[in-house]
């Protein structure tokens, strides 16, 4: 990916970035507001994009807006809401076919920019707040989002583990919010959250597509010039402190297969070595966890490790039969010890490098991949191309990888298992 990001400030705490690439047939625009994750604000912040995405002053009902989007070749406006390290990002995205492919010369980009800006800055308002009918409708969406977290047991287990692993930190907060707060959502408190987001939080607008986005930048500059931006909340990202004693949590639920998540923490600053270590340990299909816990011992269908470099978290998760939990846990820990003891080969290092080269070189092939890459790096305050980042990983020595593994401490073990025992 050779495209250089063009990023500039267009208002107080508002940045506009664009990447033009003729390969894409569609354009992708995201507008994200960043707030520190907090139980106080998460539910209301999550509610805001739900209220904004489905209507605006020109198309005041869901049906009118969706009809309009359908006429623009199935263009979409979607909500954005989720956890990014200690932050909660919320906002809207637009995804639409470029004008070049329109059958009848429609100006799709111009129309979609206008719709997106109106959704953000000209929502449907009644008596100085959002209409009660809209709140009633979208509150249910927020409640459903909170309740259905349980449907995907793998991500549910990881989220539950995070509440213990990062206890007391913003990362531990579920970005969906809580049922109690969702039931208390009103036109007024949602509108206040909306005003807080657009006036007082850091905002990133990211455009990726074949368009040059010059007119889009002008439209957003004009739109933000009408907003009273003040007291922009600053944020900082902090590494997660390590517990003195490993926490163990077991939760029981009506499930067939148990889930186990092990959370390790590292305070090493050698990111290149930590990422290489994670790859060798559980980041590929030739990794130690895959080859041993799955292939040799047949204990799991999936068993892999991921690394969160901002928080210093190495997270291993697997699905396993209840009677094999201890066996799997012992092997997962033993495989990390193998790396600590230097029991891996130069080939393992090369395989990890090859995997990173392959993945990072491919990021530029999708507009969403590019947008996600740069948003992540902007948040980390380290804007660089995938090629530049790759330099950190190539040539990391075996000794550095061993030290990275040694810096990992088991902080939390979470097990989700069946009710009957």
């Amino acid at each position: 990916m050779d495209n250089i990001i063009n990023r500039r400030q267009i208002a107080d705490g508002v940045y506009f970035s664009s990447i033009t690439d003729s390969r894409y047939k569609k354009n992708y625009i995201t507008v994200s507001f960043f707030d520190e994750l907090s139980e106080d604000r998460a539910t209301e912040n999550s509610m805001v994009p739900c209220v904004l995405a489905n209507r605006n002053s020109d198309y005041p009902t869901y049906k009118l807006l969706k009809n309009k989007l359908s006429t623009l070749y199935g263009a979409s406006i979607s909500t954005l809401s989720g956890r990014k390290y200690d932050l909660h990002y919320t906002g809207l995205s637009a995804y639409f076919l470029d004008d070049v492919y329109a059958l009848s010369g429609e100006k799709i980009t111009e129309e979609m920019t206008d719709i997106l800006i109106k959704c953000l800055f000209s929502p449907v308002i009644e008596n100085g707040a959002f209409p009660q009918s809209v709140i009633n409708l979208e509150r249910q969406t927020v409640i459903d989002d909170i309740e259905t977290v349980i449907n995907d047991k793998r991500s549910y287990a990881i989220n539950r583990m995070l509440t213990t692993l990062c206890e007391g930190e913003p990362t531990a907060v579920m970005p969906q919010g809580t049922l109690e707060k969702a039931n208390a959502l009103t036109p007024e408190n949602t509108y206040a959250a909306y005003k807080r987001l657009i006036c007082n939080t850091h905002c990133e607008i990211m455009c990726v597509g074949c368009n040059d986005f010059k007119d889009v930048a002008d439209e957003f500059t004009t739109a933000f010039s009408k907003i009273d931006r003040n007291n922009i909340r600053d944020y900082s990202l902090k590494i997660s402190p390590i517990k003195e004693k490993t926490a163990e949590v077991t939760e029981k639920l009506s499930v067939n297969q148990s889930k186990m998540v092990l959370g390790f923490k590292s305070h090493s600053e050698d990111m290149g070595a930590l990422v290489m270590m994670q790859k060798i340990y559980g980041g590929t299909t030739s990794s130690k966890l895959f080859m041993n816990v799955r292939e040799k011992m047949s204990l799991c269908y999936y068993c892999s490790a991921s690394f969160n470099e901002v928080k210093g978290l190495l997270i291993v998760d697997c699905g396993v039969e209840q009677e094999n939990i201890e066996k799997a846990k012992a092997e997962i820990i033993r495989q990390l010890d193998e790396i600590k003891n230097g029991n891996f080969t130069d080939d393992d290092i090369m395989f990890a490098e090859m995997s990173l080269i392959n993945n990072l070189n491919g990021i530029g092939d999708s507009a969403q991949g590019v947008a996600g890459w740069y948003i992540d790096h902007i948040v980390k305050d380290r804007i660089e191309t995938p090629a530049k980042e790759l330099e950190k990983y190539i040539g990391v020595s075996k000794e550095r990888i061993i030290e990275a593994a040694k810096s990992c401490v088991l902080d939390t073990v979470y097990v989700l298992t069946s009710l009957d025992e």
Partner: protein
């Protein structure tokens, strides 16, 4: 070698009927860094009873064997294909669906090396009693994982309610009991039947060199004799099997699948009906429909509500799925709405809008290396070309949609519900 072009999106690709028997589809995409390659066979979980000219009788194999074979093919007597790919850094995987099995990789470097790995291991089966037994633990855990997935279970329960004979009613991975019956001899028999190159397709899109690719195919594809494969698709009654099915699982809000059963279509006719019924359902029940908006505002359905066609060899159905605290009411409202539209008529402006949207989505699919390669394989296995979809959409008329609604038997339907466990 056939060059296939499309003037609407100004692109082209190559279709080659290779001397080995395999069909090769090559779609170079300028400016992309990655290449995505699939080696697929027209063999999925529904192909349970079959024979070739070399066999005297038809054989019926245990459920889940196509998927089991997919897992086992990654190993040969020396190493695992994953170990070979590790040296190139490619992302490799495989999947088994109802009607096909595909082995794939994506890479941004060493394409030719990766292609050699792919073509080699898929053509070199190696099964022993030990390696077959070892896989039971891994696949067993895969099955157990899906047992806890309410979205997966509600779908298969719906298929079982609709179909009484067609093996589409069986879970792709089989069951813990059925996979226990699988042995190396059965795996070899399935392999030798379905992994004949006359039954296989190589589909590649993205950043790769056509000449070098063909040179590798010439060198590595082992010529196969066409053995006259016959697969039995059981005679499926037109009527659904069970009207209502429920199961309890750990979830927050009940999940539902509402299935409408149709007669099966084959080849291009199936794809044409796939497009027609998708447009029809989008008009009647999609996000811009009166039904969706009314029931969303009533709180009966939420944003997860979705409707689409599910079809393949020997089966064709429309399935509406979602979450609701009152799924039976959703079923009644859906049926009432379809009856009302049948009586009152469809709106022509809405048809044009939805058709354009469908067209936009199909064009956008050509944005992405992975979807181009996957779609080429999928279309080929179903007997059509990747551009046919765009042309079919462009050619669909309002009368086609009206006729489809007239022919739909609204009462030939089922509901599958997953209720929260106590």
């Amino acid at each position: 070698m056939e060059k296939i072009t499309n003037s609407r999106i100004r692109e082209e690709y190559l279709r080659i009927k290779h001397k080995s028997g395999a069909t090769i589809l090559l779609y170079p995409m300028k400016g992309y860094s990655t290449a995505y390659a699939l080696f697929g066979t027209k063999y999925g979980s529904v192909d349970t009873t079959f024979k070739t000219n070399a066999d005297k009788d038809f054989v019926t194999v245990p459920e889940g064997i196509a998927h089991y074979l997919e897992h086992k093919l990654f190993e040969n007597d020396e190493c695992d294909a994953f170990e070979l790919y590790a040296k190139t850094g490619a992302n490799a995987n495989a999947y088994t669906s109802f009607d096909k099995t595909a082995y794939l990789f994506s890479c941004s470097q060493k394409f030719e090396e990766n292609l050699e790995i792919l073509l080699s291991f898929v053509q070199e089966p190696y099964f022993t009693d030990e390696t077959v037994a070892k896989e039971q633990g891994i696949i067993g855990q895969e099955i157990r994982m899906y047992e806890d997935d309410p979205g997966w279970r509600v779908f298969f329960n719906c298929l079982q309610a609709m179909y009484s004979k067609n093996p589409v009613r069986i879970d792709i991975a089989g069951t813990i009991d059925s996979i226990a019956q699988i042995n190396k001899d059965l795996l070899y028999r399935c392999y030798n039947t379905f992994y004949n190159l006359n039954n296989m397709v190589i589909s590649i899109a993205g950043n790769f060199d056509v000449d070098k690719t063909l040179e590798i195919c010439d060198r590595l594809l082992k010529p196969s004799e066409d053995l006259g494969l016959k697969v039995i698709v059981p005679d499926e009654p037109l009527q659904v099997c069970t009207k209502r099915t429920t199961q309890k699982l750990s979830c927050a809000i009940p999940l539902f699948n509402i299935g409408f059963k149709f007669p099966a279509y084959e080849g291009k006719e199936r794809y044409r009906n796939f497009i027609i019924y998708n447009i029809l359902m989008e008009m009647c029940l999609g996000k811009t429909s009166d039904f969706y908006n009314t029931q969303y505002e009533n709180g009966l359905i939420n944003e997860t509500f979705n409707v689409g066609v599910f079809c393949g060899r020997g089966y064709f159905s429309v399935i509406a799925d979602g979450e609701s605290r009152n799924p039976d009411k959703v079923m009644q409202e859906v049926k009432d709405e379809l009856c009302r539209i049948k009586h009152d008529g469809l709106n022509k402006d809405e048809f044009v809008t939805i058709r354009n949207k469908t067209y936009g989505e199909l064009v956008a699919g050509f944005n992405n290396v992975e979807s181009v390669a996957n779609n080429m394989l999928d279309y080929e296995i179903n007997g059509i070309g990747i551009y046919d979809g765009i042309e079919i959409v462009a050619g669909v008329t309002f009368d086609d949609i009206k006729q489809a609604l007239d022919e739909m038997d609204i009462e030939n339907s089922v509901i599958s519900i997953i209720e929260p466990a106590d």
